[in-house]
C-alpha cells in the first residue's frame, strides 16, 4: 500500500480538533436545551384531548421526523433569508437543530407521559392541586425519570448530528477534520483521530446520563 501511519501532522493540529469538538458540544447543548422546551410543550400537546393542540403538534413532529436533517439545515441557512429570515451560520444551525431536537424529544417525552398512571393525576386533583401544579410537581419529574434511557440515546444521536454543521462551514469537529485532511494529506490519521474524538465523547455522554439515572433512581 505504501502508506505509513504518521500522526505527527495531526497532533500538531490537535488543538484545532479540540476547538472543533468544543464547538460541537456547545451547538448540541444549546440546541438540545431549546429543543427540550419545545419537545416538552409539544409532548403535552400530543397527548391533549383537544384536536386544536394535538393536530398541529402531530404535523410538526411528522414533518421533521420524515425530512433529512441536511435538507433542513440547508433550507434554513440558504433559503429562509429569501423570506427575510437571515441568521449567522452558527445561529442558523442551532435554530435548525433545536427545531429538529424538539420533534424527536417530543416523541421521547410523549412515551414517558403515557407511562404515568392516571391515578397520580387524580390523587393530585383530590388534594386540590391545579392541572398546572400537577404537571410541574408530579407528572414532569416522573416522566423525566422514566425517559432517561431513551433520552440518553436521543441526546447522543443529536450530538452526532452537529457534524452536519460542517455543510454550512461552521468550524466544528467534522469541518476541522476535513480541513486538516485536505491541508496535511494525512488522511487515515485525521479520520481515525476525529472519529475517536466522537466515539469517546459519545461514551462520556452515555456514562454521564447513566450517572444521572442512578442519582435520580428512586429507592426501593
Amino acid at each position: 500500500m505504501g502508506y505509513t501511519l504518521n500522526f505527527a501532522a495531526v497532533w500538531r493540529s490537535f488543538d484545532l480538533l479540540l476547538e472543533g469538538l468544543a464547538l460541537s458540544l456547545a451547538l448540541a447543548f444549546a440546541a438540545i436545551l431549546i429543543g427540550a422546551v419545545i419537545g416538552l410543550f409539544t409532548a403535552f400537546c400530543l397527548i391533549s384531548k383537544h384536536g386544536l393542540a394535538r393536530r398541529p403538534a402531530g404535523i410538526y413532529v411528522t414533518i421533521i421526523r420524515n425530512t433529512p436533517i441536511l435538507v433542513l439545515v440547508l433550507f434554513t441557512y440558504f433559503a429562509l433569508p429569501q423570506l427575510g429570515f437571515r441568521l449567522g451560520k452558527i445561529e442558523s444551525f442551532v435554530f435548525t437543530l433545536a427545531l429538529y431536537s424538539g420533534a424527536y424529544l417530543a416523541e421521547v417525552f410523549r412515551a414517558g407521559l403515557l407511562s404515568i398512571p392516571a391515578g397520580l393525576r387524580e390523587a393530585g386533583l383530590a388534594i386540590g392541586l391545579t392541572e398546572m401544579q400537577i404537571r410541574t410537581s408530579i407528572i414532569a419529574p416522573l416522566m423525566f425519570r422514566n425517559v432517561l434511557p431513551s433520552l440518553s440515546s436521543t441526546i447522543i444521536s443529536l450530538f452526532k448530528d452537529t457534524s452536519l454543521a460542517a455543510a454550512i462551514a461552521v468550524p466544528e469537529l467534522t469541518f476541522e477534520a476535513r480541513k486538516i485532511n485536505v491541508e496535511t494529506f494525512r488522511v487515515i490519521e485525521t479520520w481515525i483521530v476525529a472519529s475517536c474524538l466522537y466515539v469517546v465523547t459519545c461514551s462520556i455522554l452515555a456514562a454521564l446520563m447513566r450517572a444521572v439515572e442512578r442519582r435520580l433512581s428512586l429507592p426501593r
Binding site: M1, T67, I69, V71, S163, S195, Y198
Partner: protein, 220 residues
C-alpha cells in the same frame, strides 16, 4: 415567489430531478440490502458468537454508532482512496451507509433475539430440536416479528442519510437540487420541493412500518 416561474424551471429540470431521485432510491436500496445482510451477521455474532468474536463485533458496532454518519461518509471517501482501494464517490458512499446500517440492524437483531425468554430455547431442546432447528422454527420467527417494524424505520433512516452523499459529490436528489438552485437562484422553492419529495418517501415508509407492525403483532 413566482409560482409560474418556479414551475417552468421545475419542468426544465425534470430530467436531472428524476435522475437524482432514482439515484437516491438506488443508494438507499443498495445500502439497506448490503447493510441488512451484514447486520444480521453482526446481530447473530453479538448474541451467539464465541467471546473473542463477540468482542470484536461489539467494538465494531460501538465505534460505528459513536461516529456521525457524515464522518463515516467522509472517512470512507478519503481513506479508501489512500489505501489504494479505488472506489468512486458512489461506491464509497454506499459502503459508509451500509456499514452504518449494519450496526443498526445488528443491534435490532440482537435486541430481538435477547428478548425471547430462555424458556423458549429450553422448551425446544426438551422436544429434541437441534440448535439450527430451534433457530429456524422457534427463535427466528419470534425475533422477526420484533425486527421487522424497527427494520422499516432503519430504511427511512437510510433514505435520510443518503443526502449526505451529496457532500462527496454523488449526484443524488439533494445535489441535483443544489445544482438547479445554483443556476436558477430559486433556493426557497427548490429546497422546499426537495424536502417535500423526501418527506413523501419517508412518510410512505413510516406508514408502511406501522402497517407491518400491526400485521406482525402476535394476536392477543
Amino acid at each position: 415567489m413566482d409560482i409560474a416561474h418556479f414551475l417552468e424551471i421545475l419542468w426544465l429540470a425534470r430530467i436531472p430531478i428524476l435522475k437524482g431521485l432514482g439515484m437516491t432510491i438506488s443508494i438507499s436500496l443498495l445500502a439497506i440490502c448490503v447493510g441488512t445482510v451484514l447486520g444480521v451477521f453482526v446481530g447473530l455474532a453479538l448474541t451467539y458468537g464465541a467471546r473473542p468474536l463477540r468482542w470484536i463485533v461489539r467494538i465494531y458496532t460501538d465505534f460505528i454508532r459513536g461516529t456521525p454518519v457524515l464522518v463515516l461518509v467522509l472517512a470512507s471517501y478519503y481513506v479508501l482512496g489512500t489505501i489504494g482501494l479505488d472506489l468512486n464517490p458512489f461506491q464509497a458512499g454506499i459502503l459508509a451507509l451500509a456499514v452504518f446500517c449494519s450496526s443498526h440492524v445488528g443491534e435490532i437483531v440482537r435486541g430481538a433475539l435477547q428478548s425471547i425468554p430462555r424458556g423458549q430455547t429450553e422448551a425446544a431442546k426438551a422436544i429434541g430440536l437441534t440448535f439450527p432447528q430451534t433457530f429456524a422454527y422457534v427463535l427466528g420467527p419470534q425475533a422477526l416479528r420484533q425486527v421487522l417494524p424497527a427494520w422499516v424505520n432503519t430504511a427511512a433512516e437510510m433514505v435520510k442519510a443518503s443526502t449526505l452523499l451529496s457532500i462527496i459529490g454523488v449526484a443524488e436528489l439533494l445535489l441535483r437540487t443544489q445544482e438547479i438552485i445554483s443556476r436558477s437562484f430559486l433556493s426557497l422553492e427548490f429546497y422546499f420541493f426537495a424536502g417535500f419529495l423526501y418527506f413523501i418517501i419517508n412518510y410512505a415508509i413510516e406508514r408502511f412500518g406501522r402497517y407491518v407492525e400491526r400485521k406482525t403483532a402476535v394476536p392477543s
